[in-house]
Symmetry: C2
Subunit: 395 residues, 2 copies
């Protein structure tokens, strides 16, 4: 009658990181990255993947910004999990983001654990993993680093920046901070600031990690341990927020797992318990606990209006991008009113903005799923934007 | 930059338990309590408190059923926390439950940690605390034990059974299992079965406790430890579900705690983080981690229809109680449709039933707060029921 949480954990040796990183670039050699916290970072590494070919005009580049626990492996098999890319149904021939038409880039965020600089990486000052010596980063820092990589790749202007959840926060930050570099912006299932309830859920996850004695104040790398039990609990709590109550009821209800009767113990009697435990135990095999602390913190800190005198519209005052926002009716993590606030701010500066709320019971995770209506909306928006940008239609 | 979780924990020695128990009765000496899991329990102890005086007819007894982490100290100062009773605004002179009129009883549930038999209590078979050797109990078991205590007190029939959340589950179980013993039933903010999402949140809490190395497979009593870090995380996760997003936003928004600027660390920057940490750290001083496992399990197992051929109406077929159900618009833990299902089942057997959904942004916790509309509704219902029962009006 014990916990079903896993014994395995995410490897964080430099060789393990190199194996899982894919493409990498060293940035910030001549000019460092100045972070919001005041620290200057450099040189530093960003890991990224690209799909398709940059056209001679360099006008077909699309930046996909990934969510909290996702990474640059949008399409191909994931090097750690062996699973298909997380958005391979959306980025594919004949789909809204067709690599035959676009040059698609996805960059592991600063603070991440798939090859970009973050707490698992070696701190050049000490020769040991950063751990909690890594500076706390923000969404704006992530975006600034991405802009440096695009400079490095010789890409001045992006045809489109797209992302869901934390990816959507980066999209908003891109459009605000680099109004001349973004032709079209697609923030999906996101918000211009993280709500009190969302901060609260993140704080539960962080406390679960920090309460794990194997966390060792963030220095578990040198102790040969990993706070995988705490991280699994954090993931379980977060995972509930990614689904809707209706979806949980539809998928699991009160169905029992591999048994006909209640077990009168603390094993997973119900399918929903078994499912959640599985989510926790597989997550720790592909994610670093400190990265989870840093990235959740970046989301909590995000508040685009605050940087602009408390008026969200000011964040978009110089913006000439065209926007398409998408929200989902059953998303209670980033509910529709949060998208509407962004739409209202964009309307206040007479921006070119479309907004669609999609009816679905799949909750926040709908942005990762094959939602036909979302695909139709985004396909139409992208086709029209591509035409305006002078890109050849693929149809 | 460490976790803010507490070092103190709930004392579970027999002397500590005796000090916090209040009134206690030993039951199950001649006839044991047969639990749903098949185990026979006895002799066993129930701790309870009473307020007011039983009238000569024994017709004025009101049973208050407490929620997950509450207890029998409804009115007076809590022996552990020193705080006022949890429902002293509702059970008071001139309030809906006036001790001048009613004989009010509240019993610590089986599995609890305020003096009733549960995992902290000494197992007579071993002379040591039960820990995980305590049998898994159900809501029906809790109610059966309560009925034994009422027999012991010579109370055959209850004027009213009332409770919110898990207390409401007990009310429904009482009306179903003892149709002749309940004149009026008031289930507040509750459901006839625990939903998949609620089971999921409970499972996160249990896993947080069981992931704490100080849990020692439930035998922390003999190790001189306590899984207080895991229990605090469990409480933090649960606490979010007791409030509404609106209430969190209204109370805290993105306000910073004791600082003007973001701290760029993992201390509690935001008030909502500080508040949650406080909820976690104070909870572990008044609650036992194993009790948390057992009581959440009892709630998860609750499914009144399942015991009656899958038809909820059958649970109330012999019921002659009058019902008043209350739900709250912003309660997302026990949302209004769950109460409506009970109302429909009661209507199907032509029961006498009132139902009120109260407009409030306070979430599930509204049932514990001074909600004027709820007080008005319940006062009216109780007055009418008392009159039908031949009890003198206090007005």
């Amino acid at each position: 009658m014990t916990s079903a949480l896993p014994a395995a954990a995410f490897p964080s040796s430099p060789s393990a990181i190199a194996l899982r990183a894919g493409k990498r670039a060293t940035l910030g050699v001549e000019q460092k990255l100045r972070l919001d916290c005041g620290v200057e970072l450099g040189p530093f590494t960003l890991a990224y993947q690209t799909y398709g070919t940059l056209n001679p005009d360099k006008s077909n580049a699309v930046l996909i910004c990934h969510a909290l626990t996702l990474d640059q492996f949008v399409v191909e098999t994931h090097p750690v999990t062996g699973k298909p890319g997380w958005w391979d149904s959306f980025v594919a021939p004949g789909k809204p983001l067709d690599p035959a038409k676009y040059f698609i880039i996805c960059i592991n965020v600063v603070g991440g654990c798939m090859g970009s600089v973050g707490p698992t990486e070696i701190d050049p000052a000490t020769g040991k993993p950063y751990g909690l010596n890594f500076p706390v980063v923000t969404i704006a820092d992530m975006v600034r680093a991405q802009a440096m990589l695009l400079d490095h790749l010789g890409i001045d202007s992006l045809f489109c920046v797209i992302g869901g959840s934390m990816g959507g926060m980066q999209v908003l930050q891109w459009a605000s901070a680099y109004p001349d570099r973004v032709f079209a912006a697609i923030p999906v299932a996101t918000a211009a600031r993280h709500s009190a309830q969302n901060i609260a859920f993140h704080e539960v996850g962080r406390q679960a990690i920090m309460a794990d004695p194997d966390w060792h104040n963030g220095d578990y790398y040198s102790h040969g341990t990993s706070p995988h039990r705490g991280l699994a609990v954090a993931r379980m709590a977060a995972h509930i927020t990614y689904l809707s109550e209706t979806a949980l009821h539809r998928k699991f209800g009160r169905n029992l797992q591999d048994r006909e009767k209640l077990g009168f113990g603390f094993e997973a009697d119900f399918q929903v318990e078994s499912y959640l435990r599985h989510q926790g135990s597989t997550f720790v095999e592909r994610f670093d606990a400190n990265s989870y602390l840093y990235i959740t913190r970046a989301m909590d800190y995000f508040d685009l209006a605050r940087e602009h005198g408390g008026v969200l519209a000011n964040a978009f005052r110089n913006c000439r991008s065209r926007f398409c926002l998408v929200s989902f009716t059953s998303d209670w993590l980033f509910p529709t009113p949060e998208s509407r606030e962004v739409v209202q701010a964009l309307n206040a500066v007479a921006a070119n903005v479309s907004f669609v709320e999609i009816e679905t019971d799949k909750g926040h995770d709908a942005f990762l799923l094959d939602e036909p209506e979302m695909y139709k909306v985004l396909d139409g928006f992208l086709e029209a934007a591509a035409s305006a940008r002078g890109l050849k239609s693929r149809k």
